[in-house]
């Protein structure tokens, strides 16, 4: 009896083992890392932001791994340079998908690269795009955390027209898609608020620009405010020239992409009456942000890369990946897209909730005080204004 029983037990055990095989295999896969490909500016004109992008993503990965990773798998960050031409980034994307079997992409780069990546990835791998952009990205399996014109422009223009009683506005920007689309929205809100555009000009992106002539033209047009969609060194150059000609005392300025590095370049003496609305400043108050800043400083020390919206966005990108994949219980496109609706995830300044694959988020209106951003108004849960249909 004893013997038979053992045999029967052995039989049962063997059967259980066979039945359990898929579970065992799944466990073996669970030991594989969850690979996130991070497209960031390791080189090129935006390389200034690279160290912050990398550091912020690494901090999020470290925190997530300490708490059990994504679906029990440790997260591995694969760094990819998106600072070169879009074609280079797409080659990297293919390599990461085919060779590395990357599970998900997070990208903090310009829109030209985003469009190229969307066309290459073709929704096979989820892609989370994070910085600031012109709106309109509704490609399947693509999730956009970036500030949209709706989120940035309305608070800025309301400040100008309602509080500062601005009527005439001059627009100056770099000549590419983001400034032009953002300015379309500026005009729309300005008209609604009773103001009007009395001048609009664009300077080439990436050319050695000087702004003496444009500033003189603005002086002649006598607007009440200037809305600036210049980026990087051009933004610095323009604002320095503007203040050099003494216009900083005569009219207001609202910039649409003015972060900590740019303001340091503009300099304390050139930032009078300069306003800006974005979802992140290093001076945003709140417990979540304090905790983020403490962890960032603890990990990277006193010489940590400068905190700025382009960089800290990668922290939210990695946390969004975790929330999305865990809610969908996998990386199937249809499941992820369904899971994204109403998804809540952490950012450097606290949790946000996603709708139409774009999060509603708090926006902060800041006034420059020297080389610091003083937050003068907070808008909670500002919608993206994007209406991506569910697939």
């Amino acid at each position: 009896m004893q013997k038979r029983s053992v045999t029967r037990r052995g039989f049962v055990a063997g059967g259980a083992a066979i039945l359990a095989a898929p579970v065992v295999l799944r466990h073996a896969r669970a030991a594989d890392p969850f690979k996130i490909g991070l497209f960031y500016a390791a080189s090129g004109p935006a390389a200034l932001f690279g160290p912050t992008q990398k550091a912020s993503a690494e901090l999020a990965v470290e925190q997530i791994n300490k708490n059990g990773g994504i679906l029990g798998r440790q997260v591995q960050l694969l760094l990819a340079d998106a600072g070169g031409p879009p074609a280079e980034s797409t080659k990297t994307a293919v390599r990461l998908m085919v060779q590395e079997k990357c599970d998900l992409f997070v990208g903090s780069h310009d829109s030209a690269t985003r469009e190229a990546l969307v066309g290459t990835i073709k929704a096979r791998v989820p892609y989370i795009y994070t910085p600031i952009y012109e709106g309109g990205e509704c490609a399947p399996n693509t999730y956009v955390l970036a500030d949209t014109p709706e989120q940035q422009v309305r608070p800025s223009i309301d400040l100008l027209t309602k509080e500062k009683k601005v009527k005439n506005v001059y627009l100056i920007g770099n000549d590419y898609v983001w400034p032009r689309k953002t300015n379309d929205r500026v005009k729309q809100y300005l008209t609604a608020g009773g103001g009007k555009v009395i001048g609009e000009e664009y300077v080439p992106l990436g050319a050695p620009n000087k702004f003496e002539e444009a500033v003189t033209r603005i002086k002649g047009a006598k607007p009440d405010a200037v809305v600036i969609t210049l980026v990087g060194a051009d933004n610095v150059n323009f604002n320095r020239t503007f203040a050099g000609f003494g216009l900083d005392k005569e009219m207001l300025r609202a910039s649409m992409l003015l972060e900590e590095n740019t303001l340091l370049g503009i300099g304390a003496e050139n930032s009078k009456q300069l306003y800006n609305c974005m979802s992140y400043f290093s001076s945003v108050p709140g417990a979540a942000h304090d905790a983020f800043k403490a962890a960032y400083k603890a990990k990277f020390g006193e010489k940590a890369p400068q905190l700025s919206i382009i960089g800290v966005d990668c922290f939210a990108g990695v946390y969004c990946a975790k929330a999305l994949v865990e809610k969908a219980k996998g990386t199937k496109a249809a499941d992820l897209m369904a899971a994204s609706e109403g998804l809540t995830f952490s950012t450097a300044t606290g949790p946000v909730t996603m709708k139409n694959r774009h999060p509603d988020k708090p926006m902060y209106l800041a006034e420059c005080e020297g080389t610091n951003f003083k937050i003068i108004k907070t808008f909670d849960n500002v919608g993206s204004g994007e209406a991506c249909k569910q697939a």
Binding site: Y202, A207, K210, E212, E213, A233, V236, G244, G265, G267
Partner: protein
């Protein structure tokens, strides 16, 4: 005259005067030695960092002028001895060598100061009234100093013994050496002077633009166009080149916009390379 028109004329003068000084170092090195120093812009960058260091240390801004010229002159001396001298008769090789050098200088600056923008405050803030137009004091001072500097250089080149020796060396190096002119030393001095002038250019532009490792690229291209249009080897050519490139850029930008201004400069540069490759006032 309408104050705005006056301001735009001053902007044109500013564009020409600063470009003449920024291109001066390149013109000396290219025109006299036949070396196209691609790292010229990076020496302008080094000069701008020198200005930032002087200002951050709380020292008077004027001190940045000798310091930047000294630092860039020293750099020039090292570059000449280590890189240029073995390559004098090989123009294409010097081009490649100085291009490599420009990458090295940029990356060195990045390693020391990082990629972030440094802000240099205007040493002479505020505006001053010129014929009814409020014009920034510092820019006005630059117009005056740059024009005076170029005029002084032209006079020195025309009248001095050193100027004559340089002309002799350029016209016929072997014969110059035969009559006792130490051409090796003269060439080195010319190179060092060109580099020091790039440093001066850096001090000049530092309060106007963000100072960062990649700023040099903005200056090398326009400076090169000045030489293409003006021709090599004469101060008059330099002034003509700066007048056309800087003046046209500023004028078209004032009348139309910056895109048109930039296009006009590129078109003119291409036309000159095509139809008049020796420039307006090339040395005979």
């Amino acid at each position: 005259m309408d104050p705005l028109v006056t301001t735009q004329f001053l902007n044109i003068a500013f564009g020409i005067a600063t470009l003449a000084v920024l291109a001066l170092g390149l013109a000396i090195v290219f025109g006299l030695l036949g070396v196209l120093n691609i790292a010229h812009g990076e020496l302008v960058m080094a000069g701008a960092y020198a200005a930032w260091i002087v200002q951050s240390a709380g020292l008077p801004y004027a001190l940045a002028v000798p310091l930047a010229m000294l630092a860039c002159g020293l750099l020039g001396w090292l570059i000449e001895a280590g890189l240029i001298r073995p390559l004098y008769a090989r123009p294409f090789d010097t081009l490649l060598a100085t291009w490599g050098l420009s990458l090295l200088l940029r990356k060195t600056a990045e390693a020391i100061w990082g990629l972030g923008y440094k802000s240099v405050a205007l040493p002479l803030p505020g505006t001053v009234d010129v014929l009814g137009a409020a014009y920034p004091r510092y820019r006005l001072m630059l117009i005056v100093l740059c024009l005076a500097g170029v005029a002084a250089l032209a006079a020195w080149f025309a009248k001095s013994g050193a100027g004559t020796r340089i002309k002799a060396m350029v016209a016929n190096p072997d014969l110059a050496q035969a009559v006792g002119i130490r051409t090796g030393r003269l060439a080195r001095n010319a190179f060092v002077a060109g580099c020091a002038l790039a440093g001066l250019g850096g001090v000049m532009v530092a309060p106007l633009t963000p100072v960062h490792p990649f700023m040099g690229i903005d200056y090398i291209l326009e400076s090169f166009f000045v030489l293409v249009v003006g021709g090599l080897g004469s101060v008059a050519g330099l002034v003509a080149g700066a007048g056309i490139i800087g003046g046209l850029g500023s004028l078209v930008s004032a009348v139309a916009d910056r895109t048109a201004g930039y296009t006009a400069v590129l078109v003119i540069a291409i036309l000159f390379l095509w139809l008049r490759p020796r420039g307006l006032l090339a040395r005979a």
